[in-house]
Each structure stands twice: as structure tokens, then as C-alpha cells.
């Protein structure tokens, strides 16, 4: 019964994400067109002659009606073609390949830290409701959530990097980066180092991850603290918890198997909702720590006023957020048998 309905459920979710994608893409397209100046003169103005600019414009198809460009943009995105930058003629796909890995490991590391810190803290806070530890943890959650990334980064650099000597710039030491990238297979430097069996590089890359992941992780963990705390307080009051106690189930098991497990179900959904915010945070973290990821690339193309570069990367981000929301729904269905039947 449950086995048969899962694939159908997944298909449903995928179909539901299509309208969401459609809206996201439209917003990206419109925002970039209504921005002041036209793409070519904004990015290349002053460097090229009028004729050259017109030639470029024609080549890129930017002189055609918006609706034609829009349909083409949708079509290209559907085939995972994100276009090319205007200023330096890089294919966006190449940028994603070369820089996506750094953003990926940064966000995964940040999530591990956020979950690893947020879930236990939320649990401690709920178990000691309104005691001093609860108050301290809640205040910490709010502060970590509300403090701007660059400021956290600054604090990390001053109070952690100084005394410990942890690196605050880049994803690896330049020499190691060069060595590993020569034989890049996955273009995810951490994975490539492992594949090449270069353990010194693995260590170096991991050490470079510590502060950026902490910085981004702190931003997201406040949400987890709050979610786990609120949910656990609620499930501890639930009817099935009282019923389990009435059966004589040991209190530690009641908390763990009944209250805590049920409290985690909505947290999975939060991971999905956090995805967009985390990508935003990643962009800021990357520029704070000079991280060679997509966020840094995005900042670069924003500054260069390269509209095609910005559009390509943002479109990719939108796809990632949509994909994560589908994955989260599926994970949710695997954890919670009720979801599949709704």
C-alpha cells in the first residue's frame, strides 16, 4: 500500500514545482530587463564603439522583442542552457562546474554545523523550559539569526582566526589548489583531493572550511533551535506521549522515540524552506571569506553589470532551490507515513 503510493507522490511534487519554477524564472527575467540601462551598454559601454556594441547586441539577440527573448530564455533553461556572460564570454555552465563545488561544500558544511548545534540546543532548551539554560539558548538563537553575516565573519576572524591561526581566505592554500585542480575530475576540490588520495590537501581544504561553515552555520542554526524547541514542547504535551507514559515506557525512551522523533518531522520541511535563505547567506559568506564559489562569481558579475552572467547564475540558484524543495518533500514522505496519504 505504502510502497505503491510513494512514486506517485514524488511525481505529484515534481509537477507542483513546475508552476513555482515558472514564476521564479519570470521574476528573474523581468527584474533584469526593467533594471536601468541595457545589458550591453551597461557592461561594455565606454569600452567599445557604438557599432561594435550594436553588433554584440544583435549577436546576443538582445534587439529582438522581449517576448521572443523570454520564450527563448524559458526554452534554454528547460534544456539546462544558462547562456554566456557578456563581459568575458564564459559559459555559465562552466562557471557552475568550476565554482559550484565550493558553494556546495560550504553550504553542506554549514548545514551540518547548524543541525549539529541547533538540534541538541533546541532539545536542551525544551527539556529545561523557562530555566536559565532555556533563556540563554533562546537568546543565542535570536542573536545568531539576526546578526549580519559580515559581522559574524569579522568576529570570527578577530576572535577565532587570530588566536588559532585558522585560515580566513579561500578554500585551500594556493599551491594545493593548483595541484589538485590539475587533475580535476569532479571539480569539487574536497572530493578531488580524496580521489587523488592527497590527504595533505584534504586536511588543508577541511581546515579552510571551518570558519566559513561556522559563519554560515550560525546564521541557520537559530531557526533550527527555535523549531526543535517549539516542536518538542508541543510533542511532549501530546496525547501519544501521555499514552506511552501510561504504558510504563521509560521516560528517556518516551522523550527520544515519541516526542523527539515527532518533533523532527517539521524540521525537515524547514531545511527546504531555508534553502533559499542559505544560498543568500552563502553569497555573503563567500565574499567575506574570499571563497571561490558561485556567490563570489555572482557578486563579480553584479559589479561588472553583466546582466547575462547574473541571470544565468540566479536561474541556476532558482533551479537548485526548486530541486531541494522536491527532495525535502520526498524525504518527508519517507519519514512520515501520513504524508503519502494526504
Amino acid at each position: 500500500m505504502s510502497a505503491g503510493s510513494l512514486p506517485r507522490y514524488v511525481l505529484q511534487r515534481v509537477l507542483l514545482v513546475i508552476p513555482m519554477m515558472f514564476i521564479l524564472l519570470t521574476v528573474v527575467f523581468v527584474l533584469l530587463r526593467v533594471a536601468p540601462g541595457d545589458p550591453i551598454s551597461a557592461s561594455l559601454g565606454g569600452k567599445l564603439t557604438e557599432e561594435a556594441i550594436n553588433a554584440r547586441r544583435e549577436m546576443l539577440g538582445l534587439n529582438r522583442p522581449f517576448i521572443v527573448q523570454y520564450l527563448e530564455y524559458l526554452g534554454n533553461t528547460a534544456t539546462l542552457n544558462f547562456g554566456e556572460t557578456i563581459t568575458d564570454n564564459h559559459a555559465i555552465l562552466d562557471i557552475i562546474r568550476d565554482n559550484g563545488g565550493a558553494t556546495l561544500t560550504l553550504t553542506i558544511g554549514a548545514f551540518i554545523i547548524a543541525l549539529g548545534v541547533g538540534i541538541p540546543l533546541g532539545r536542551i532548551a525544551a527539556r529545561g523550559r523557562d530555566k536559565a539554560r532555556d533563556v540563554v539558548i533562546r537568546v543565542f538563537g535570536i542573536i545568531s539569526y539576526a546578526t549580519p553575516i559580515f559581522f559574524v565573519g569579522l568576529l570570527m576572524q578577530l576572535y577565532i582566526a587570530r588566536p588559532t591561526g585558522l585560515p580566513t581566505s579561500g578554500i585551500a592554500s594556493p599551491r594545493i589548489m593548483h595541484a589538485v585542480n590539475q587533475n580535476a575530475i569532479t571539480h569539487v576540490i574536497l572530493v578531488d583531493s580524496v580521489i587523488q588520495g592527497n590527504w595533505a590537501a584534504v586536511g588543508d581544504v577541511l581546515v579552510h572550511h571551518i570558519l566559513p561553515c561556522l559563519t554560515l552555520g550560525m546564521m541557520i542554526c537559530g531557526v533550527f533551535i527555535r523549531m526543535v524547541r517549539v516542536n518538542l514542547l508541543q510533542t511532549l504535551q501530546s496525547d501519544y506521549v501521555e499514552a506511552a507514559r501510561a504504558r510504563g515506557i521509560h521516560e528517556s525512551r518516551v522523550v527520544r522515540k515519541h516526542a523527539f522523533r515527532n518533533a523532527l518531522v517539521p524540521v525537515v520541511t524547514i531545511v527546504g524552506l531555508q534553502a533559499a535563505m542559505t544560498l543568500g547567506g552563502a553569497v555573503l559568506t563567500e565574499s567575506t571569506f574570499n571563497w571561490p564559489g558561485l556567490g563570489t562569481q555572482l557578486m563579480h558579475y553584479i559589479q561588472a553589470r553583466d546582466y547575462m552572467g547574473v541571470q544565468g547564475i540566479v536561474t541556476f540558484f532558482a533551479l537548485v532551490v526548486a530541486a531541494i524543495s522536491v527532495i525535502v518533500d520526498v524525504v518527508n514522505a519517507l519519514i512520515d507515513p501520513r504524508v503519502r496519504f494526504e
Binding site: 505504502s2 501510561a246 510504563g248 512520515d336 501520513r338
Partner: protein, 346 residues
């Protein structure tokens, strides 16, 4: 005679609230023998569930219980937390009102049974767990094919059966069933009540059946206790109480049931009192059609219905009408309502 399964004397239970202590149960005494079903009836808020929770030691933090409580002659209130915990489920079980929310939605039926049996019998094998559980489920009408199903795959009535099986699989000597059928339709209600009655008969289980449905009491219970505002106002053989109710509250309850048939409890004029600051004298006097002046002043003790000491087998009642000899001559006249409401407002 051997010790009763449950012997409760002068039980009092308070809940701590910001507005002050709620006297949810106020000097309640009763006992239940093996195989006996005691019905506990009363308006909602009268303290029925609180008694059930108190018997199992399931009261929330901030509440206080005192009095005397023995299970087969063993003083339960003298036990430490851990020992008390061990009795729960194995000796004293509870079935709740809302079957839909009482099973963990993430756990299969099989996992519920495994967890319950393993907690009390850590060495039991998987095969033994399955055998014992399926035996009970079968009796209760859940086919073995549903062993691995999740709670949401069952109807309310089926889930209540599972809850009952989950209580019975440990073979407890005492079960509290707290409004076990209130959330179910009439047909399922009849089936569940039959299951509970058979249970008391076949396994000699003592049962405290909490309900606000007098029909259920008449059908299933040997004895009945009528509760009002934290007190038992009348307790005795169910047939005797129904055919010859003593307390004016019992009489009102029966009357409203007869005239309205469905859920007529609320047709008694007035509302149950505030348990933080209950009325003086008899708690029922503000709503009592037969109240005397004395009723607002002094609380009636529990006497058997002829006015003598309560004894096993007698119907006991806490009402001055049954103890007129103890009421001063000049306080026997009807209660002046006006004075009371003025006094209440003061």
C-alpha cells in the same frame, strides 16, 4: 475477603495554576474488587479524568495528590518514583478518550506492541512478542494482516481497539477507561463496551469506567459513583442508584437523560462551580432544587442512604436530606437564593 484491587481513601488532588490551586478532586473514597466495573459519571470538569490520572501517577508537574491508595493491599503512594513507574502499564493501565491521537503516528502497530512488551519483559523474543500481541488483537477484532500498519491506516474505532489491546497485552489487574467511546459512533461504542465487559469477566480485571453517558453505566457497570465538583456525591450498586437515586444531583442527571436521551447532562440549570474557589457548604447547593439553608453553610459527610455509617454493599450519599437528624431545626427551611447571590458577589 482478599484485598480489593484498588482501595482509595480520602484522595485529594490539586493542580497548581497561576490563578491558584484547583481542587480537582476533594476527599474521594472508593474501592474496586477483582472483576468489578465501577462507573464514574459526572459533568465534564468534575474531576473524573483527574482521578484516573492520579491512580496511575500520571499527574502533570505542579500537581499534588494525597490520601491513601492501595493496589492489592500495597500502598502505592509510599513507593518511590521508579517503583511506581514499573506498576504503570503492567498492573495499572489506562485507555483514553481520543483514540485518534493516542498512537504515535510514526510507529507501526507492531512497534507499539514490541516497545510495550519489551519495556516490561526485556528478555522476551520477537516471536513471543508477535504471538502475544496477535492473540490479543485477534480477540479484539484486529486481523493479523494489519500487524505492520501505521495508525493513520485505521478508523477511530479500530484505533481504540488497538489502544485496548495495547493495554491488555500486559494483563493488568486494573484498567482505567476514560470516556473510551465518547469520540466514537453508537455502533462502535456498543462493541467497545462489550469488549470491556468481557474483559472484566474473563480476566478478573477491575475496571474504572469513566463516562458522562448514563446509558453506558446502566449497561456495563456493577457499581456507579456520581461525581460533582471534585466530590463523589453518591456511590452504590448501579441498579440501586438508578432505581432509587438519593442525591438531588443524581436525580437531576437521570431526569435530564430520560427527557433528552442524548447528552442531556447540560440541561441541569446553572454551571459547575469554579474549583479554585468552590461554593461553601455542599458544592451543589447553588444549583440544587431541594437545598436547605443548612446546605450553604455546612458540607454534608458521606453516609449510607439510611443515614448510618457507609459499609460495603450500601449505597452512600453525601446529602443533608439523608441526614436530617443532624441538621439544626431552624436550618431546614428552603434556601433563600437572593441572599446567596448577594453573598457571592460580596
Amino acid at each position: 475477603m482478599s484485598d480489593p484491587t484498588i482501595y482509595a481513601q480520602h484522595i485529594r488532588i490539586w493542580y497548581g495554576t497561576p490563578a491558584g490551586p484547583v481542587r480537582a478532586v476533594d476527599d474521594v473514597s472508593f474501592s474496586i474488587q477483582n472483576g468489578e466495573i465501577l462507573g464514574l459519571v459526572g459533568e465534564s470538569g468534575s474531576g473524573k479524568s483527574t482521578i484516573g490520572r492520579g491512580l496511575l501517577g500520571l499527574l502533570p508537574p505542579g500537581s499534588v495528590m494525597d490520601g491513601e491508595l492501595a493496589f492489592k493491599g500495597e500502598d502505592l503512594l509510599a513507593l518511590d518514583q521508579k517503583e511506581r513507574f514499573k506498576r504503570r502499564g503492567r498492573d495499572l493501565a489506562m485507555i483514553f478518550q481520543e483514540p485518534l491521537t493516542r498512537l504515535n503516528p510514526l510507529m507501526r502497530v507492531s512497534e507499539h506492541f514490541t516497545e510495550t512488551l519489551r519495556t516490561h519483559f526485556p528478555k522476551i523474543s520477537d516471536a513471543e512478542v508477535e504471538k502475544r500481541s496477535l492473540d490479543v488483537l485477534q480477540v479484539i477484532g484486529i486481523p493479523p494482516s494489519r500487524w505492520k500498519a501505521y495508525p493513520h491506516e485505521f478508523s477511530g474505532g479500530m484505533r481504540q481497539r488497538i489502544m485496548i489491546a495495547l493495554a491488555l497485552v500486559l494483563r493488568p489487574a486494573f484498567v482505567v477507561a476514560d470516556e473510551p467511546t465518547t469520540a466514537l459512533d453508537v455502533l462502535v461504542e456498543a462493541q467497545i463496551i462489550r469488549i470491556l465487559r468481557d474483559l472484566a469477566e474473563q480476566f478478573d480485571t477491575a475496571l474504572l469506567l469513566i463516562t458522562h453517558n448514563l446509558g453506558i453505566i446502566a449497561e456495563a457497570c456493577d457499581r456507579v459513583a456520581v461525581m460533582y465538583a471534585g466530590k463523589i456525591v453518591e456511590i452504590g450498586d448501579a441498579r440501586d442508584v438508578f432505581s432509587d437515586p438519593q442525591h438531588p444531583y443524581t436525580q437531576e442527571l437521570l431526569r435530564s437523560t430520560i427527557t433528552l436521551t442524548t447528552d442531556g447532562l447540560h440541561s441541569i440549570p446553572g454551571a459547575p462551580p469554579d474549583l479554585i474557589d468552590p461554593p461553601s457548604g455542599c458544592h451543589f447547593h447553588p444549583r440544587c432544587p431541594k437545598a436547605m439553608a443548612h446546605c450553604a453553610v455546612a458540607e454534608p459527610p458521606v453516609r449510607n442512604k439510611r443515614g448510618g455509617k457507609p459499609e460495603p454493599g450500601t449505597t452512600d450519599v453525601a446529602c443533608w436530606i439523608n441526614q436530617l437528624a443532624d441538621v439544626p431545626e431552624d436550618a431546614r427551611g428552603p434556601l433563600e437564593r437572593g441572599e446567596i447571590s448577594v453573598a457571592d458577589e460580596a
